[in-house]
């Protein structure tokens, strides 16, 4: 057991625990906090795979911006404790076999993959794998050549969302 492996299992466990807490918590803020925990734990997992840039962006965008807005809105509306309903019938009948199937699939994938060997070696798919020097030029080249289409498509998607938000907010006046 090397240190990266220990860290991997520790943070994987934290991520799963956070996800479980997110569902079980009744106070909306507690759910939001659990989600932040999941995101930070995921960022650490990215870091272990050598994807430093993705890890930092994960924290800045998700934990630092998206979730701050979540928490802000929960605070602003002073959302009360969640009400619990009886379990829905569809979830019980369709969900249980699907969950079982998903577990089976993950188990199958894990038994046959070599992903475990990648942890801590810095050979992950991320930009700026440790060892190689990270530069903004290198990153920009990747963004504007190999990944140009997804990059531009996402930008336009975000722009549309911003415009939509502005139009929705304007209606009130």
């Amino acid at each position: 057991m090397t240190l990266p492996f220990l860290l991997f299992f520790a943070f994987a466990l934290i991520a799963v625990l956070g996800a479980v807490l997110l569902i079980l918590a009744r106070e909306p803020i507690h759910s939001a906090l659990s989600l932040i925990l999941v995101m930070v734990a995921l960022a650490v997992l990215y870091l272990l795979l050598g994807a430093e840039f993705v890890a930092a962006v994960q924290i800045i965008v998700y934990a630092g911006a998206v979730m701050v807005l979540f928490v802000f809105v929960i605070m602003l509306l002073n959302a009360g404790v969640e009400e619990r309903t009886n379990w829905s019938k569809i979830a019980a009948w369709a969900g249980t076999p699907l969950a079982f199937f998903l577990l089976l699939e993950i188990g199958h994938f894990m038994a046959h993959s070599k992903a475990g060997e990648m942890i801590g070696t810095g050979t992950g798919a991320g930009v700026g794998a440790s060892g190689a020097a990270f530069s903004t030029t290198e990153l920009s080249k990747l963004l504007f050549t190999s990944y140009l289409f997804p990059f531009e498509a996402t930008s336009i998607l975000i722009l549309i969302a911003i415009l939509g938000a502005m139009i929705l907010a304007k209606k009130e006046e």
């Binding site: 906090l33 924290i59 630092g64 701050v68 928490v71 802000f72 700026g128």
Partner: protein, 409 residues
């Protein structure tokens, strides 16, 4: 012993963290003293005076007082979040300082480890922004979990303010990134080397560089707003909200918020120094060798002034205390005049000098400016600061690209 030789990185990291934590904690304590003294001077008062010579032991007395005050927890508070908030605020504020380089990479320990930075990561700037972007939770959660209307309003104001100004702060820095081409702090500082202060990003021209003075102004305004300081201290406006987000915190939990605020001030000052003012670089040309002796001479001059003060002004126990301070300054000055020490101390000396100037600026603002109204704060952030920092980015990019095109064609 074998463990120490086998793990040079780990051992160096532990030593550096311990030393840095001690220095930062002391600096935080004396920053409160510095602030009270400077504001008192601005307002024609004495400031702390009775605990120790010139009130120098006041931070210690305050610390002891914080520890022994009754720790009140509001009965309606959400206990887990209420306890989590101050820890989150302080630990994140202190973690950010681990990324700051206080000196050049050439200063190394015997085992080859970089002496003046705890964690020299490639994505330094992004990592710092990642840590500070989570920092807002300390304030927001404190406001929510106290279950008090003043605290909640403070928390809400703070979240809205930090989200608004974080955008401008990040954009104002991208101009520097264009010039540096790296996110590593030492890379950014290294790019500003040569010709003394004329080559710092804030006024640098030539080779496609657009002076980042506008970027710097945007950054410093956004940074003051990010740290919730006057004139942007609406989250804790005492005339409106009692004490804002930390109204329900007492004893050492309050002290933790206080320390977090000061640690954040130090972090943004360090960042301003690194990005715009050449970090640990000297403002004088490297060819002037005598500048190596400036720190030592400066300390000795300060020591001589203190000695004069001790003899003429001080009486009784204060005279004894100040004599110790004087001897410390003179001894430190003499130590800094030894050539090997003098060359190592260069980087940290210039870095801390610049950071102290920024901290003085912070305190100066506090003594000078009134507080913004909330709508002024929002319209200033979104309608002025954001467009200006965007324009700065666009102009910087254009100047750079025309320079590059000119070189090719």
């Amino acid at each position: 012993m074998e463990f120490i030789t086998n793990h040079p990185v780990l051992v160096a990291a532990v030593v550096k963290i311990a030393v840095l934590l001690f220095i930062v904690m002391t600096a935080l304590a004396y920053l409160t003293w510095f602030e009270r003294k400077v504001v008192a001077r601005i307002q024609s008062r004495w400031g702390p005076y009775y605990v120790g010579a010139h009130g120098l032991l006041q931070p210690l007395a305050d610390g002891i007082k914080f520890l022994f005050k009754e720790d009140v927890t509001p009965p309606a508070a959400d206990l887990v979040v209420y306890l989590l908030a101050p820890f989150l605020a302080l630990s994140l504020a202190l973690t950010a300082i681990a990324l700051i380089p206080f000196g050049p990479p050439s200063a190394q320990f015997p085992n080859g480890q970089y002496m003046f930075i705890v964690s020299n990561v490639d994505i330094g700037l992004l990592a710092l922004f990642a840590i500070t972007s989570i920092g807002v939770y300390g304030v927001a959660l404190a406001g929510w979990s106290s279950n008090s209307k003043y605290a909640l309003l403070g928390g809400l104001r703070s979240s809205a303010q930090m989200i608004s100004y974080e955008v401008s702060m990040t954009l104002s820095v991208v101009g520097v990134l264009l010039l540096a081409g790296t996110l590593n702090f030492n890379g950014i500082i290294g790019g500003q080397a040569g010709h003394g202060f004329l080559h710092w990003n804030v006024i640098r021209t030539g080779h496609g560089a657009f002076p980042q003075i506008i970027g710097f102004l945007c950054y410093i305004v956004a940074a003051i707003a990010e740290t919730n300081r006057i004139p942007f201290d609406l989250p804790e406006a005492e005339t409106e909200l009692v004490a804002g987000f930390h109204a329900e915190y007492s004893s050492f939990k309050f002290a933790m918020f206080f320390m977090a605020e000061y640690a954040n001030m130090i972090t943004v000052s360090c960042l301003a120094t690194i990005l715009f003012f050449g970090g640990w670089l000297s403002p004088l040309p490297a060819s002037w060798v005598w500048q190596n002796y400036l720190p030592g001479v400066g300390l000795i001059l300060l020591g001589i002034y203190c000695a004069w003060d001790t003899i003429t002004e001080m009486r009784g126990i204060a005279q004894l205390q100040f004599a110790v301070v004087t001897l410390g300054l003179l001894g430190g000055g003499a130590l800094c005049l030894i050539p090997p020490v003098a060359s190592i101390i260069q980087g940290p000396f210039w870095f801390t000098t610049k950071v102290i100037l920024f901290l003085f600026f912070y305190v100066w603002l506090r003594g000078t400016l009134p507080r913004f109204r909330y709508d002024q704060l929002m319209s200033f952030g979104w309608k002025l600061l954001l467009p200006v920092s965007l324009a700065n980015l666009v102009v910087t990019a254009f100047v750079l690209i025309f320079h590059l095109l000119g070189k090719q064609g």
